[in-house]
């Protein structure tokens, strides 16, 4: 009896193996479709070679960033849909450690962007009208998240979603 039971366990496990294989293939197919449609949640590294170890204020960014221990500078553009979605998610208040630069073609576009997304302007939100800061940084894609540590640029990646943004925010310092 026990022998039969063990054989049944073995055969059923192999059946589960086959069925899970079909499921795995389905997930891979869906990912291929998402990749073709350009809606994958995959961040890409952004090359910021000349910016590394330089102070943000050098490019027209707030001087307070030069003395911050750890921060994420999020670059948004009023022309980008993902940027609007991310900006809308920040409408209530900016999480600690997050700074935002909203780039726009002109003042009217900047105003419209703020109106549509309800992004509140405060000392951690900078409006980059006519894209001057973006040009100095050499940015031609958005949204981009710049990691700043000890007041210096360290690295940058694209930010494909709100979920990813919140996963890379610097953790607040805790005194224990």
């Amino acid at each position: 009896m026990a022998v039969l039971a063990l054989i049944a366990v073995g055969l059923l496990s192999l059946l589960v193996f086959v069925l899970l294989g079909a499921l795995l293939e389905l997930y891979r197919d869906v990912r291929q479709l998402r990749e073709a449609a350009g809606i994958l949640d995959r961040p890409l590294s952004v090359d910021i070679g000349p910016l590394v170890n330089t102070a943000p204020s050098k490019y027209g960014l707030p001087e307070a960033l030069d003395s911050t221990a750890s921060a994420l500078l999020l670059f948004l553009s009023e022309r980008c849909l993902t940027c609007r979605v991310i900006a809308s998610s920040l409408a209530q208040s900016l999480p600690p450690g997050l700074w935002v630069v909203a780039e726009s073609r002109n003042a009217q576009a900047a105003e419209k962007f703020l109106e549509v997304t309800n992004l509140r302007t405060d000392d951690r939100v900078t409006l980059d009208v006519e894209g001057k800061i973006a040009a100095r940084l050499g940015i031609n894609t958005s949204p981009v998240g710049f990691r700043i540590e000890s007041g210096r640029f360290v690295s940058a990646t694209t930010v494909p979603s709100v979920r990813y943004l919140f996963s890379i925010l610097p953790a607040p310092l805790r005194l224990t």
């Binding site: 026990a2 022998v3 039969l4 063990l6 054989i7 366990v9 073995g10 055969l11 059923l12 496990s13 192999l14 589960v16 193996f17 086959v18 899970l20 294989g21 079909a22 499921l23 795995l24 293939e25 997930y27 891979r28 869906v30 990912r31 998402r34 809606i39 994958l40 949640d41 849909l81 993902t82 979605v85 998610s89 494909p160 979603s161 709100v162 979920r163 990813y164």
Partner: protein, 181 residues
């Protein structure tokens, strides 16, 4: 020697059952591989079905009847077939996907199959010398249950990872396109 034979037979059985079951589940990729090797489509389909049967048969043979000469001969024949496929692939001017183990596990057909021929032949020799008496049914039952559970668990881990990635992609797409469910 007996312990070595036991361990090697279980590992080899796992490899063969994995490959055979994957081919049986989805013949397309293996048919494609055989066609790249020059086999006509109809014959490639037949050969894939046959190969999957032989691999599954050899796998179960290694679990329940590793002492049988037929099982050991099956291992040798499979090793030679894989090596032959590798040699033909090396002579092609374009890389040929192996599709040996199904979804997500892929490599090129060629040198690996030729080099692993010694492993198949050594394994058959180990079984020939290591199994001087038949494996009992209860031992075989324990082996098949263990193998099945290990293979299912490995697959489940891969599915869990793929599910997590898909969930993140779906959440991202929902945000982007304001989909509502």
């Amino acid at each position: 020697m007996a312990v070595l034979a036991l361990v090697v037979s279980l590992a080899m059985a796992g490899v063969l059952l994995w490959a055979g079951l994957e081919k049986a589940r989805n013949v397309g990729p293996s048919v494609s591989t055989l066609m790249s090797l020059g086999v006509p489509r109809r014959q490639a389909r037949l050969a894939t079905h046959l190969l999957s049967l032989i691999e599954i048969g050899a796998g179960f043979g290694l679990v329940f009847q590793p002492h049988l000469v037929w099982t050991q001969l099956g291992i040798v024949i499979l090793g030679l077939l894989f090596a032959l496929a590798g040699i033909i692939a090396l002579q092609r001017d374009h890389p040929i996907r192996c599709n040996c183990f199904g979804v997500g596990v892929n490599g090129q057909l060629g040198r690996t199959q030729v080099l692993t021929l010694w492993a198949w032949l050594s394994g058959a020799a180990v079984f020939y010398h290591g199994f001087d008496q038949p494996v009992s049914l209860s031992a075989g039952a324990i082996r098949v249950a263990t193998l099945g559970l290990v293979m299912a668990t490995m697959r489940a881990v891969a599915v869990w990872g793929a599910r997590r990635e898909a969930r993140d992609d779906r959440q991202s797409a929902m945000e982007m396109y304001l989909w509502r469910f």
